[in-house]
Structures are given as C-alpha cells and as structure tokens.
Symmetry: none
Subunit: 416 residues, 2 copies
C-alpha cells in the first residue's frame, strides 16, 4: 500500500503559510507502514486540482487530499473529486443535521454559506469532523482510495488517525510493516567528516537505511527501519546505532529528543553539581538553554552576560591587566572569566565564552568567528579555541553548542 | 512566466522535517510576479525525481529544485537532471578550486567525498554558494529553465534571490502582475481581541486581503495586494495598514522583518541610551535577543541571570529583607532587581524579570505563569504583573516578549 498527499490552497502556493499538514500526514503514514513517494501542493483551482488527483491516482493506491472543503467559493475539492470520478455531488441530510447541531451548540443560526458543505460525491462515506463544520469523505474509484479532509490541522488530525489510516490498513489487508526511525545527534564534526566516517554504511545499508541532515550547529543521522514489528525494528536500529557510535565516539552524544543541554542538565543533577555562566558574545544563549529543563534551579545558580569590558572587569572581576595585555577575546580572558564566574556564583562548574560574532570587529589576527570557551570544573580550567564560519547568529549558536558540548564531555568524563 | 517547485528529500516524505524551503521559494516568486501552480515533494530516488522533473517541465516554464546537491550518495539531483536533459555530468575546475578554497579557509583538507559536488550537467551555469560547499546550477532544456539549489535554507536563500529570480525575470521579459504582502506584528493582544477589532475588514476586504496567524507569543496579520506594479501594491497595502493601526494602536508595533528587539535596539541607539538585564525565570532569553543585532555593544552593557535567591542578593545586590518579606516573585523584588541592575551596570535603562515558569513551584497565591517585569528608565521604575498560560517554555517566551514590549513602549514614549 502506498499513498500520495495533495495539499490544496492558494495561500500555500503563495508561501503565506507553511504546509505543516503534509509533513504530519507523511509521518503518520510512515508510522503505519504506508509508503509515500510524492506529495503535491495545488491551488484553489478545480481544473488543476483534477490534474493533480489524476496524476496521483495513476501512481499510487491511495490519494489523501487536505484543504478546500470549507464553505466559500475558494473551496473546490468537492467539485474536483466529483469531476475526476464522474460522481455527482449529492446533498446529505445527515451532514446538514450535524451542521445544524454544531451551530446550535454555539448559540448561532447556521450561515447559509455552510449548506454547501453538506454535499459530497455520490456513494462516498463520511469522515466525521468532531472539531469543525466541514466533514471529510472517502470513496473508491477504479480500485484507488480517495480521501478528503479539511485543511485546518486541528480538525484534520483526528480524522486522519481515527478514520483514514484505519481504512487504508483494512483495505491493504496485509499486516503492513512498521517503519520506525531514530535520530542520532552528532556535534563538533562537519558533515563531510561524518560522511567519510560512515560512507560505506550509507551506501550499503538499505534496511535500516541511514540519512544525514546538516543543521547549522549539528549533524543529525536518521536511521530508519522497516520491519514486521516495533520490537524487530528497534533491534535493527540498535545494531546500526552501535556501529555508528563505535565510529563517531563522543561526537555522537544523544538521540531523538535529547539535546546537549538536556543531557548536561541530567549529568549535573546526577553528579549533584552546580553551574554558572559568564557569556560575552553568546550573551545569555547558554543560560537560556541551561534553564529550559524543569527543575533547573537545582543545578543552575546564575550567570553574567559580560558584554562590555567594564562589566568583565567591574562586575565579573576579571583582572583588567589581562584584558589590557591580551584583549577580551583571548584564552587568558576566557580562563579568568570561567574562574571568576565559579567564584562569584560559588559553583562547581562554570562556562565562559568570549569571541567575535561580527559582522564588524574582526582583524587579521582576531577574525570574525574566533571564539574562546572556558570550561571550569572543580578548580581546573580548560580553554578551547574555535574559528566558526557563518553569520553573526550562526556563530553565536555554534559557540553555544560547542561550549555545552565541551562541558558535557567534561562532566561525563570526570563523573566516571 | 510560471514556475514549479520540487523539494527533494526522503526525510520530507517521512515527515521528519518541515519543508520550509518550498514556502520560502513560493513567497519570493509571488513577490516577483511569477506564478506557481504546483509544488511537488520527491524522495532521494533518481528515477522518481526524473518523473517529477518531467511532469513539472511539461506544465511550467521553469522548474526550481531544492535539495539533493550534497556530497553523499543520497544526493541524486545532479544525476536526475543529467538523465532528464541527456547532458553528461562534467567535473568543473572552477568549482573544485572554490571547494578547495572553502576548506583551506577553515584550515582543513577537503574530504574526498566533496569532489562529487564539482560535477554539474554539461553547459549548465553555476549558481554561486557563498555559504557552503554545494554550488547550484541553472540550465535550459527545450525552452524550459531548470534551476537546482541545495536544501540547506541558509545556503539556498541568497542563491534564489540573487541569481535564480533575476534569471527568470530577465528571461520572461514581461511585466508580470505583482503580488506583495506585508506582515503586521501585534503584541499583547489575544487572537480573539484582534479578530473582534478588525472583523469587518477580514470579511469585506478581497484585494488587499487580510489573513491572521496566531503564534505563541504574538499575532501576525498578513495584508496581501495584487496590482500592476510594486508601487500600486504598496499604496493599497499602506491604506489598509493605516486603518489597522488606527484600531490596534501601540499593539501593532512593527512589520515584516522587524522584531521587538530589533526595534528596541534601534530606539536605544537613536536615543543614545544604554541597557542592562536582570533575569530570573527567563534567564538569558532577553539578553540573547538584545544582542542579536550587530553593533549591540553600543547599547547593551551586560546582565545577570539571577536564578537563585543568593545570586539575586549576593551578586545583584537585592536587599535580602525584600526577598524574605515579599518573596523572589513579587513586585517589590522585580523593582529592586531593575534598580540594582541599572546601578551595577551603570545603564540608563534596565529590564528585570522574576516569575514562576513551572511546571512546579506554583501555589494558590502565586501560581505557575505569574511573572513580574520591572522597567527601569532614568531613575524611574514601573513594575508590570502578568499571568501567562502555556507550558514552561511558552511562559518564558511570553515573559520575554512582554518585557521587551514594555521597554520599547517606554523608550518610544520618553524619547518623544
């Protein structure tokens, strides 16, 4: 069983809203083991929607359409399906009653324009919409399933999972295979280096398959397995995960919902350690991450965003001779910042960051992107030097990620 | 001139990531007056991508492909275009040199796998990629334009606006109808209140039309106009904007790329004012926003993330009697935090935030979501009380938005 998705709406083609429906439907179909090879977006034009439906029905077993079921003249999905299948639109008494009910509950009379929503192609089954006025419908045409749902995500979602997917699974008859995926998080490695390390796996693995996704600050590896059961799929994924871990080592730091800051929060809590931050160019980014986790007050005590040099000296207490001799962006200053931060906040650990985020302020000797990170752990400090590429915001984000990564590695190593 | 967009990537068809590229490209094409009637999403399968390209090229004047240009075996766009057009992939010396340069700058040797990115179909023009390793390319086949760009949004965006769209406009030669839209930013008003205030405009306006989009922390109104020229479209939008501004007042604070923090940065710079932050529950979120703007060191001096009570007293200097008598989450504490912050950092303005982000720590008297914001401006302080709904992260984000909004209003009012 494979399906195609058609999202319908001129506002999508104009780029005014993101088409989050298509990715939601994709995800749910994948979880149910139904393959999707194409998705199409079409506008509020019946003729072109008919073209899209006919192309999809030629290629796939099922066509899932979202959008275009509202009460306005823009809403052309009913008419397009009618034209494609040659089935007339028949007004349905039961839908009309439901609509009446819906408006009565809200204490208003049904607007005349909503009556059009009671018409669906002859012989189609209703997909109930418990959250809005537009019902969906499902029908079969020359052996292909065509399912239509509204475009409002809040209305569409339960209709998909409660009615459409069960219908497709029943129709397919077979015990559809399960598709599961795990996302592996990699830090401090460029995409090409990750690729070089596991190139043979990319090329030879088909099930589980491995995909790579580069974000600004991190790399994600997606291991996708297709199997007869969730247990079997998990087993297959685990085997691949172990092999990748062997090759990438510490750089593979977590998976799925895990983030550098959630893992650092966990590690600090487990070791009963406290932490503070002294941030110059990242100015609060690391502090904000460290406090995303509920209960963060047990490990995070506070921090200083030491943006100007007087603040580094006057508030944080960095020796102004250090700043004068080496500059604020120097290993010496990063070191002092981390030490003074731990002293001021009375913490076991401290992170300091000082660098040049740009776009201005760079020199030949200290270019934009140069960042020093100080990692303080129980009276020992280590300073790391980085040269990041990217614009101001990307440099700041990369600096924050590397600081969290170095701190996490330190806590993990020392805790053992 | 009309175009189709093909987004390429199995991770899209599995619903693992949102396809934000297609909507961005849609928006930019609409702004340039280039119509889009269909968008397609295809996976990392060369045969199926060829099918998608050939269908798109049959219907449209131009096919814009994003994704599949990376260095791995997953990246099949080069091969698919080669197959569709019958043009061989030719390794290009100039790309290879650029790649070499890119890695040299970063002080690393080019990984072998990146060499494949130097090959593009015979006779294609290069679309330069200033932000990554994969160049794009553009070619014409049987009168149709085919443009290929990487899938990384940060890399793709300038390639689209600087090269692909100018190419299409030059090729089309005609003056297409322009679709323009402006996004109006509204803070501190729930969606229903915005809706009530401009309901009649929503219902009766067709060109320009008005759409509403609710985010967690703000509301966005999108005014879209179709006209014969950019000037005419701008005029139409401006008229609607003035009417909405009249109804929403200060709550309509900006438009398009403007954010609360970018406007605050501008206002502080214009008034030559300095600012500092003392954040408890938002812990760095406001500081990070205030330093997003290049040149922020001219107004932002620093801040303290006063997460624990000892830090509020010991580092920031809040009277511990105040904390003892009124609690850390109190108007008195917010007031002291703002005053002490301005003193410590020697700034004209200061923002303080103290509140309960949850999920734990709430009481009947001080529930989760209770936040006090202190706004200090030249020796005067004003404390605002809020009760936000939402989860921990939404409460923190809402608190940051309201703090920035109140500070912006104060600077604007006092500066006049």
């Amino acid at each position: 069983m494979n399906a195609e998705i058609i999202a319908c709406g001129t506002e999508l083609l104009l780029g005014q809203i993101e088409d989050t429906n298509s990715s939601y439907i994709s995800r749910k179909l994948a979880e149910a083991g139904i393959s999707v090879f194409f998705r199409t977006t079409a506008g509020d034009n019946a003729g072109r929607l008919v073209l899209a439906i006919s192309a999809a029905a030629r290629r796939a077993d099922a066509v899932i359409i979202t959008g275009g079921l509202g009460p306005t003249v823009d809403d052309i999905t009913r008419d397009a399906v009618s034209e494609f299948t040659g089935r007339k639109i028949i007004p349905r008494e039961d839908i009309l009653l439901n609509l009446d009910e819906f408006f009565k509950k809200r204490g208003v009379k049904m607007p005349e324009s909503n009556r059009v929503q009671a018409g669906i192609p002859d012989g189609a089954e209703i997909i109930k919409n418990s959250r809005g006025t537009a019902p969906g419908f499902i029908l079969e045409h020359e052996g292909k399933v065509i399912a239509c749902m509204p475009g409002v995500p809040y209305e569409m979602k339960p209709m998909l999972t409660d009615t459409v997917i069960p219908y497709l699974l029943k129709k397919s008859g077979e015990n559809a295979a399960v598709i599961k995926y795990t996302s592996l998080k990699v830090a401090a490695m460029p995409e090409s280096a990750v690729n070089d390390a596991i190139k043979d796996m990319f090329e030879s693995y088909e099930n589980p398959s491995i995909g790579i996704l580069a974000h600004h600050t991190e790399i994600e590896l997606r291991v996708t397995a297709k199997a007869g059961s969730v247990v079997k799929a998990d087993e297959m994924i685990n085997k691949v995960k172990l092999e990748i871990k062997k090759r990438l080592g510490d750089n593979l730091y977590g998976e799925n919902e895990e983030t550098l800051h959630s893992l650092l929060a966990k590690a600090l809590t487990a070791e009963k350690l406290t932490i503070s931050t002294a941030e110059s160019c990242t100015s609060g980014i690391i502090a904000a991450r460290l406090t995303e986790t509920p209960g963060s007050s047990s490990y995070y005590r506070g921090g200083i965003n030491a943006y100007s040099n007087d603040v580094k000296a006057g508030v944080l207490g960095v020796d102004s001779v250090v700043i004068k001799e080496h500059g604020a962006v120097s290993p010496e200053c990063a070191c002092e910042m981390a030490v003074k931060c731990a002293e001021l906040f009375k913490t076991d650990c401290a992170i300091s960051v000082t660098g040049i985020a740009g776009p201005d302020g760079g020199t030949a000797e200290k270019p934009v992107g140069l960042v020093y990170v100080g990692i303080y752990y129980k009276e020992a400090v280590c300073v790391h030097k980085f040269l990041f590429s990217g614009n101001r915001e990307i440099i700041r984000q990369r600096a924050a990620v590397m600081a969290l990564f170095e701190m996490l590695k330190t806590v993990n190593r020392m805790g053992k």
